[in-house]
């Protein structure tokens, strides 16, 4: 079964790996994954990854937070138990709104930040007690690992990867 095998090509330079990704893509091979010790600018574009939509989710979460703050201040201060505090009676939310601006702002930030980070953790599948999935411990130090699907083209692919400056090439079974 050749389709369950992948090839692991190691690189030790961010510029080399970026060029290698471009060359491998140009030769019409499917790059499964690239593991990096630090972010390499332009790598996501070179690999053809779609832009992340996390910023959009943050905006939506922020709007939800703002809505929560408006509802909370309205319900507690105006609807449930209106009081006359310091000669400023609580008859309408709109008239009392200036005093609620700090709460509205803080809850917007609170919701946007926390829910976005939770979304990030869920989408990237990272949480406490999760087992790491990088195939080689060197990929958090100074090595970059390109994982390519193998379809009975081992020799051709190895030659191409050697040409792109890979420092180590292994064929492994993918579980």
């Amino acid at each position: 079964m050749s389709s369950s095998k992948v090839i692991h090509a190691f690189y030790n330079d961010d510029e080399v790996v970026l060029d290698a990704v471009k060359k491998v893509k140009a030769a019409n091979h499917h790059i499964e994954e690239v593991f990096c010790p630090f972010p390499v600018h332009g790598l996501d574009k070179a690999m053809g990854l779609a832009p992340t939509r996390l910023a959009i989710t943050a905006f939506i979460y922020g709007v939800i937070g703002l809505g929560m703050a408006i509802w909370l201040t309205y319900y507690t201060m105006i609807a449930d138990w209106p009081q006359d505090i310091g000669g400023k009676p609580s008859f309408s939310w709109a008239e009392n709104m200036p005093a609620f601006v700090p709460i509205m702002f803080e809850l917007t930030v609170f919701f946007a930040a926390h829910l976005m980070v939770i979304t990030f953790y869920m989408r990237s599948r990272i949480w406490p007690f999760k087992k790491a999935e990088n195939p080689d411990p060197r990929t958090t130090d100074d090595h970059f690992l390109m994982e390519i699907e193998l379809l009975d083209n081992e020799e051709e692919l190895t030659a191409l990867l050697n040409e792109t400056g890979a420092v180590e090439i292994n064929v492994v079974d993918k579980h």
Binding site: E33, F35, A55, I103, A113, I126
Partner: protein, 464 residues
Amino acid sequence: MSHYEAPIREPLILGHKSYHDITEDIARPIEGKANKNWYIAFYISLAAMLWGFGCIFYTVGTGIGVWGLSKNIGWAWDITNFVWWVGIGHAGTLISAVLLLFRQKWRMAINRSAEAMTIFAVFQAGLFPIIHMGRPWNAYWVLPLPNQFGSLWVNFNSPLLWDVFAISTYLSVSLVFWWTGLLPDFAMIRDRAVKPFQKKIYSLLSFGWSGRAKDWQRFEEVSLVLAGLATPLVLSVHTIVSMDFATSINPGWHSTIFPPYFVAGAIFSGFAMVQTLLGIMRKVTNLEAYITRLHVEYMNIVIILTGGIVAVAYATEFFIAWYTGSQYEDYTYLSIGSATGPYAWAFWSLILFNIITPQLLWIKKFRRSFIISFLISIAINIGMWFERFDIIAIVLSKGHLPSTWWRFEPTFVDVGIFIGTIGFFFVLFLLYARTFPVIAQAEVKTILKSSGESYKKLRDDNHE
């Protein structure tokens, strides 16, 4: 060419380093054994912390009467320390968020420790309002929870409640910002750990970070958005803290310039504390190649700027107090009355430590000196504490009627709790320095080629 940086810029990473060298350097303090100095510092801090906890138990067991407060001065050291600690926290967020938005590469060597400082400082700050409640077990009453008291709600018109929301949002957002940045670095420690227990702990802390290209793409986006959220957040926090005073009708507190002036003061004091901590840390952890003279100089420039804003604010307050011609304004914390009255020592300490001493930083030689920067940073820490003490104690010590005049004298409990929080802060920081990657190594690796000394030299030689 993608890593080009103008030759005129000084390198941020000294010496001949490779990516692997950075890994080694950052992992060394964690994997090695602590030296004697660390233990001495730790035990002194621990002793101070335990003494502080003792004073807290005494306060809670006996009552707030054990402090030097009275009916006229209802809060003094506690709120002084609260504002001081919150202010210190601000530099961490400024370095990690604002400097990220401005694409300042020098932030990368110091952001991790500055954020750690933020979180530990906000812990200390949060203690004071809770102890001052007298019945800390009722602290949850500040939250808008449905309850059995006839659906009584918290008062959203009150700046003190805004504070609750601002500080808790600030603390929790700073914490996730910090932790998200730590994941790749914990993963680095995890992947090179040899001891099974260490491997287990760092696996848990790193949340199984694997460093896929997609993860990094999301990581960078999340960092950018969090920075965008944290920037207005940090400004809002000290704005709201200043409103605790500014929305009152006390002469000296009822001041419209308080919000921007408090924010500038917070950044000023926070950078001073970063300078103090890093001055020690770079020596203890042998990270001189990453925390360089240039970093110290840049921080000193921020200190001069924010210190200048604070000085202008002081001058404004002093002038306005005099210009009103009101006798009640003649004993605000910046006035002729306080400069010559019984609190003259506190007034002049403020001027000396906060306004005069930092001016030495205009001299380039001092600005780039580790030891002088360190000493000035300590002076600013003291000066900023006096600022808050003056605003609170001097203003409250002279009410509108002579019968409300009162001189605040701290008791040993006031002093003990303050010293205790300093101890607690250093205990946390020292433990952090032994167990956490103190420099954001993944980020530092991204600037190695553009700002590393050997790479810059190589590029410049090729251009000749």
